[in-house]
Symmetry: D2
Subunit: 147 residues, 4 copies
């Protein structure tokens, strides 16, 4: 599990005064960039140097409790599934001030050649990093299981 603490930004809230639901996917992406930072060149090196990306094919987000400006989230990233060309990451986003789970996301990505926009075999260093943080979910799992 890789942990990232992130304060809520002034512009992250919406007209209802709570963090806008789409922002949690931005937070997840930041957590994924942090997760892949140990790669040579980091996530940016993967994208810009090797031209391999990890576009999403599926996201499930469960929103449990709102979070506001002035608060912060601790994002705990782990891996629940590794396939041949895909993987599913899980992000638990926890409010720092009271330990309450704000949101939990599952994010299935496919290793993709960004020039051809076609899936490619998962690079070995990407697979090794994912494997080091594998934490499969226990059966029985209801609707929403990563595929």
């Amino acid at each position: 599990m890789v942990s990232l603490e992130r304060p809520i930004k002034f512009e992250d809230v919406d007209a209802a005064g709570i963090v806008f639901f789409a922002r949690f996917l931005s937070y997840a992406h930041e957590a994924m960039e942090r997760f892949f930072a140990p790669l040579d060149g980091g996530y940016a090196g993967l994208i810009l140097g090797r031209r391999i990306g990890l576009p999403a094919v599926r996201v499930e987000a469960d929103y449990a409790a709102p979070v506001r400006y002035g608060e912060a989230l601790r994002i705990e990233t782990s891996v629940v599934h590794i396939g041949r060309r895909s993987a599913t990451l899980r992000y638990r986003m926890i409010r720092v001030h009271d330990g309450v789970l704000s949101a939990e996301l599952r994010h299935t990505v496919v290793t993709t050649d960004l020039v051809q926009i076609a899936s490619v075999a998962m690079p070995e260093d990407v697979r090794a990093l994912l494997g080091a943080h594998l934490d499969p979910e226990q059966a029985p799992v209801s609707a929403g299981r990563p595929v």
Copy 2:
């Protein structure tokens, strides 16, 4: 079904050159605002006047094909489930230039008192509008069924 056509903005793409995956939730929210426009005062009136909001409790997004700057999406919004205090909207986002489905989202919202941040019974005008566009999905539906 309510339809909205939306060009991709210059800033919507990411460093991989395709629309960032979180933006599709922003697009879904725009489509929802359009969906609720027939309410007296529109969606803004609901939020700011009546202080009733529709925060998400769950989102499922399936990404099928990338979309780029210079292209546009047609977003078709319908309703797949109406509960006592919740509803699930479905957004099909279709590339205008070739008719290809880019993404499909399911978005479950709960009618919420924004002052108390507590669920409330669904207002009748909201229920009526949702009902006018109800298009339930056929069984058998696999993982990802709205709850």
Copy 3:
């Protein structure tokens, strides 16, 4: 002068409840895209097809009155200066519901080869479109004059 009407989006506000100051530059860019829509292929064709961009070298923004969710802005775009490789656009952003000026921006851009990231002579169709909406400001102009 080219006019664009734009409702404020749910996510455009900040934790103070008014549109975040950076969003006005996003609005200006949308207005610029609309301004250049008459080009063959539009602004996207310029960027993606001809690989010529218009990056900003200077922006001045004067914020006069806040704008909120539920309101809309009418953005009036004109051109106050055309140089050899640069131009300055002016955006007056006016609240639709009461006609009050919310913000006024001056935006100096340079015609740029996006492959080399080097300035290039202004294409003739770009110059012609700018010239059609030229509305130079009157002397004496105080600090803040476009250069």
Copy 4:
């Protein structure tokens, strides 16, 4: 001078492949939040607790060199002017990898009662913090002088 280092996020670029010009104002706001962190409750406490905000009345941004995903900016924040109810902050945004100035912004804010949306006398703790980082610009200053 208060310094903040900030990596460019995956979603901060635009369809030209460089950081979108409006993002620099978001970065400036983050730097301002960092600048005011020593206040009791930080910037969030000022906004949410005391209901005093610092909305912009003017921004000047000079863009000198583009910055890309995979790079980072060091933002050096200082104060060039303190008035009775306003102040002007200056942000120098420097690319970490080569020390090149990417952008320089001047940001004039007014201490504002967020309930009344009316200017108020500058709180003493705000004034003291600004004064601790005052670095007035030398005359002669050309167009673009903070007012």
